[in-house]
Symmetry: C2
Subunit: 343 residues, 2 copies
Amino acid sequence: MVSIDEVARVAGVSTATVSRALSGRGRVSDTTKARVEAAADSLGYVVSAPASSLASGRARNIGVLVPFLERWFFSTVLASTSAELMRHGYDITLYSVTEDAELRRNVFDTLLRRKRVDGIIAVSIALGDAEIERLLALEMPVIAIGGPDPRLRTLTVDDVAVARLATEHLLALGHRDIAHIGASPEFDLDFHIPTQRRQGFAQALEQAGLEVRPKLFEPADFTIEGGFRAAKQLLGRPGAHPTAIFAASDEMAIGAILAARELGYRLPADLSIVGVDGHELGAFFGLTTVDQFPAAQGVRAADAMLDALNGQVTARRSASAASPDHLPFELVVRRSTARPAAG
Amino acid sequence: MVSIDEVARVAGVSTATVSRALSGRGRVSDTTKARVEAAADSLGYVVSAPASSLASGRARNIGVLVPFLERWFFSTVLASTSAELMRHGYDITLYSVTEDAELRRNVFDTLLRRKRVDGIIAVSIALGDAEIERLLALEMPVIAIGGPDPRLRTLTVDDVAVARLATEHLLALGHRDIAHIGASPEFDLDFHIPTQRRQGFAQALEQAGLEVRPKLFEPADFTIEGGFRAAKQLLGRPGAHPTAIFAASDEMAIGAILAARELGYRLPADLSIVGVDGHELGAFFGLTTVDQFPAAQGVRAADAMLDALNGQVTARRSASAASPDHLPFELVVRRSTARPAAG
DNA sequence: ATGAAAGCGCTAACAC
DNA sequence: GTGTTAGCGCTTTCAT
């Protein structure tokens, strides 16, 4: 492997100059810089990451913590974060944080402490108290996306507002019997987003002078299948049925659409359905949704990380931990919602 | 940050011994080992990855190349590879190899050459000739999953056989007019799997004495939406329609199911549909498929990598580049296939 | 089984 | 603007 000494020899300068020329830190005359670059190119020289990290303390590598890699939302965020970071010369090291308590502890106790990463992005992951302490103890930038903890700088949509918007859309269309498919209790415990969406739903109803009826809530697990089952429950029970459903995720909303079709409902004539996320399949199913632009979220997180690493103390950043940075969202109306049938 | 010297001091041994005790390389008496571990624990010591890498040449880190992170198949493989590797103390660095030519070159020319990884796993990614040369030049283990190049050790299902199996299932049920939804030509160019599945389809038909009718082929892009459109074409044209469809992926098959439903087909009475993959939604849609166990593939790739790094020259491995390691697959019959309606 | 010491390949003062 | 030099925190001979 060609090392920095050879480049220095070929370029006729010291290794320090090579380092400066190639990294851009410290000043080097334009001509030397050109010579160094030429030498490096001709030799096919690439800086050794470990050597550079050891000497500088910088790893040019960001750790990304993700749960459920196979859920669309997470892989979408991951893909865009990764692309943005790569574009700025950073690698990303993936830590998939699963249920497995042992693997999980290993991540926080060892893997993240190996000085391999300069910062950490935690994607919508429910962190325990001890885990958050661990992250804080690392003394490196941590950016959370959609996480619930006030101790971490968090980028997130205002989930209460998102849910309110979706619900208000249905109310504005004239619906009064609106059901909600949200998180099952266990899921809720360590992952507060579902709860917030439920609150937003309730707020909107109350503001419209309607009561929240427990019969019109059905828990599910944020998958298509879960949404399908929940909708079957909601629509299959004897007695009165809702004229609209607000599902706390697009995947559940899609499941609900499928369930409604199977039960013979015509959408949106007999039933309106609205979701949340901006899922890639939303357009295909004609799903009305509140888009939270997951890909953009990934980019935002990456940029926030880059800022933090460059010491950019923006106004927003100093407000930091206290108030989470709120991300944009938008109601996208498609074919799955309409005014309820008269009568 | 506590370093190895402190551990050595506390344990009353040299740093060399600490290193040996903690890494397991070289012999250390049980008692010293215990003392060192106790000291390390009490100090909260964790080896610095860059320092260790620099000194040893080993990074304990595997690079994973993935296209389309947001496609279910890839994220599933990635999740299982990652879990398996983590279990063995390896981190994984993610390189999402996109269309963007510049980013892409950067990966092969720079990122992978930084000595940050000990090996590379390429997940179903179409590699150019120059790119493969680059990988080979790295002189580290490279494991491909489902890739097409004979120069790399490749784990893959026999895609021809997979397609034959799916098609033979339909033939055995008595279908004679079988359509195929496969890759569109561009997609085919750099990614040979679709072509092989098409070949397997053709082989099965020919073996049954049937001719391959171009009218019964429709290209798509491996998404639900693509499968939906393709099926609409196949089923919406004037003239005779197929009684069965073989889709080259489960996502396309699901799209086809939705299209068929929308056109008023009852499945499987009017139409049988079979896919390939073992998609998580398969059971939900009652989809008959040839499961290729993607999660297991990820684990296999991880294990193959670990073997390679440990210098395990298995019989299979020496056969290596020449014959790809064939992965298991299995026909899973569900509700989407049945005998064609009489007449 | 353990210690001493020489690097691994770079970066960052510091000096000029 | 450029060179000298002292590490960065480990691992690994080589002795003993």
